[in-house]
Symmetry: C2
Subunit: 101 residues, 2 copies
């Protein structure tokens, strides 16, 4: 769920979308953006800290790829809250139907 701490930034969400199609090295990721390469490098570091990305070294390159588990965990939290609220709504509705309120 710490993935949510990190995915508020649109640039970082975009990085996630890019990496969903396949792993990529830092430079190749940075090419997708107008921002400077160090700026993207900082975003990558934040995403790694948040557990959303994993790095691997390949010579002088650093290859980043998604950690699906982190994304899934965050998604699960969101849908769990939605489900709880829907259940609360259902309970309220059936109580109304039965004249309990």
């Amino acid at each position: 769920m710490s993935a949510l701490d990190v995915l508020a930034d649109p640039t970082r969400r975009r990085i996630v979308e890019i990496l969903a199609d396949g792993e990529l090295n830092a430079g190749a990721i940075a090419e997708h953006f107008d921002a400077s390469r160090p700026a993207i490098s900082q975003h990558l570091g934040i995403l790694v800290d948040g557990g959303v990305l994993t790095v691997r070294r390949d010579g002088t390159r650093r290859i980043y790829h998604l950690d699906a588990a982190a994304l899934t965990e965050a998604g699960d939290w969101l849908s769990a809250q939605a489900t709880r609220w829907n259940r609360t709504l259902d309970a309220l509705e059936s109580a109304l139907d039965q004249g309990e309120i």
Copy 2:
């Protein structure tokens, strides 16, 4: 997906968890926190702007409740990225199996 813009803050996530059990007025929500009531009021406004909450007036009170659709939408985006990445992994693996790489 703009829900993600807003759910990076732990206080706001906690508000979401509280409201998953049922709608509540601003004061009752604030009682769950150490922060001042105005601080919580500001968080509530941000959550409403982000589409995560909806307000209703009841006399002098303002009753907040979750918007399940916003949460679901954000959760769907996350799981979609996880799924895309898993598919990419599968494709890579089968390519390796068939000696295409």
